[in-house]
């Protein structure tokens, strides 16, 4: 474990509200410049975790180090390297988009507020509404402004709590593009979502928060292969091979299809089992072989169900 690479380090994080334990000991390491995605159902504690990381809420115990600074001991230093886009748009409805950006820019004490404001308005396609009060904005426009306001202070780490909830498909794709661009520019993105597809599309690193702990983590690929119950689809070139194979595979859990001459064999996804399968079928005319992986959704539902 290369500690210096981990811009976010969380150890044994616990938090309860009154009697209810929301976080029961979360451990996480997140690499600099990556897109990290915290996946969890409603009420899993995603917002609670983001709030603790963003210095808004005190943990009961555990340690959080952001870019080398301890959240508990030096929140002021932490605040100067992070920025938060909360679950509910943190924009000032009475001000215009430009005024919002300038306000946050000046509160971040950056030097070139005006230039940066113009640049962000352009980048987030808000130029045409720059001088309109934000209360007249659509949800998507508000979200874009919200994120632009988070970027104006040049944060090292940006927290996005459900950035695409409530957006239409087009705006969501636009948001994904923005998030990828942020990461490409070297910002570490910590985002929460309830959408598995979003995690799969964006994240280098996914963690699933369930009942107060991280039940699994890794890349989308790793998570999928962790789930037993993948399958291999075998297609045969002729009827006799198809029939022979059926006899050979007696004892395996198979799904056969006489029309297409295919057999779907359930596997645990391991290489060993795959090699074994191919060796016993040696000699049959296999026209094609397709590894069918569990979808991330399967992984999620299986894990959460257990």
């Amino acid at each position: 474990m290369q500690v210096e690479n981990n811009v976010i380090q969380i150890r044994g994080l616990k938090k309860s509200y009154k009697r209810m334990e929301v976080l029961k000991g979360v451990d996480l390491n997140i690499k600099k410049g990556s897109i990290f995605c915290l996946l969890g159902s409603n009420g899993a504690g995603k917002t609670t975790m983001v709030k603790i990381l963003a210095t808004l809420l005190k943990a009961d115990s555990g340690e959080v180090i952001l870019s080398g600074c301890d959240v508990k001991k030096s929140p002021e230093q932490v605040r100067s390297v992070i920025s938060l886009t909360g679950q509910y748009a943190a924009v000032d409805g009475l001000l215009t988009a430009r005024e919002n950006l300038r306000m946050v820019g000046r509160l971040n004490h950056i030097n070139d507020v005006k230039a940066k404001t113009d640049h962000l308005l352009r980048q987030f396609n808000l130029e045409y509404v720059a001088n309109r009060p934000v209360s007249t904005f659509s949800g998507g426009m508000r979200r874009r402004l919200d994120i632009a306001m988070s970027l104006i202070g040049n944060p090292e780490i940006i927290f996005l709590d459900e950035p695409t909830t409530g957006l239409d498909p087009q705006s969501r794709i636009e948001m994904w593009k923005i998030i990828r661009e942020m990461a490409a520019a070297g910002v570490t993105v910590f985002l929460t979502t309830q959408y598995i597809e979003e995690a799969e599309q964006l994240a280098n690193h996914i963690a699933v928060l369930h009942e107060g702990i991280i039940i699994t983590q890794g890349s989308a690929q790793e998570l999928k292969s962790k789930l037993a119950g993948g399958a291999v689809l075998l297609g045969f070139g002729d009827l006799s091979s198809y029939i022979t194979a059926q006899e050979t595979l007696n004892g395996y859990s198979c799904k056969i299809d006489d029309d297409t001459l295919t057999i779907e064999v359930a596997t645990d996804g391991s290489v060993k089992q795959m090699a074994n399968l191919l060796s016993i079928l040696n000699g049959t005319n296999i026209a094609f072989l397709e590894q069918k992986q569990a979808s991330l959704e399967d992984v999620f539902l299986t894990l959460v169900a257990n």
């Binding site: 605040r79 509910y88 924009v91």
Partner: protein, 258 residues
Amino acid sequence: MNRQGSLRWKTNDHFVMAGRCIRHLTRNLDNLLIVIVLPIMMMLLFSSVFGGAIQIGGDENYVNYIVPGILLICIGYSASTTAVSINMDMSQGIIDRFRSMPIAKSAFITGHVIASVFRNIVSTTVSVLAALVLGFSPKASFVEWLIIILILLLYALAMTYLSTIFGLLAKTPEGAGAFGFVMLFLPYVSSAFVPLETLPKALRLFAEHQPITILIEALRSLFASTSSPFIFEAIIWCSGILIVSAFIAGQIFKRKTV
């Protein structure tokens, strides 16, 4: 670039926050009505509608008699809107953004307070101008005007911090708005519009001892350029309320946001 935590850094934060709140004033029609229309309406109402009916004794000009009361009502009410703005800010996402930024802690509240003072300066100026048009004839000297301004400023600050407490504690903006009614009605139970002797006994007892009466008497004698023991008392009352409520507001804010 300023260093984080330096005086210039903090001053900047206070100014930005105040700028934000002052901008809000110009965006919100209700606010403008309170600041400009309320003082004029009050002056007109009291001088023309009630002016003939209320006997204050002697041959004193009734406009002169009511100006201090109206000034205090307008200041109190205008300061009370701070409760609503603060409550709205606290219940919306924007406060989380501010809290996650490296901003001077007190800037959020001072921003609202500075805006309130600004609002009160405009509102009081409008009140005085309206009064002058309606026949107000102050005899105060330059120094007495300065003392009047000091008392009004202290009163505005005290009421703003008091309403900050309400704004922080109220569950909803509507609840926070209720403070405005207190500030609107408290001056009626004082010597603001009728001599104390004309009040029923129970009310009179309250009126005699509440600080608004002291402030009214102090302002009245300052405008008339007569000396009065109430002037000193008024300053003490306002400073006292200001210090206590600013301290309590600060503590509540800290507790709510750490």
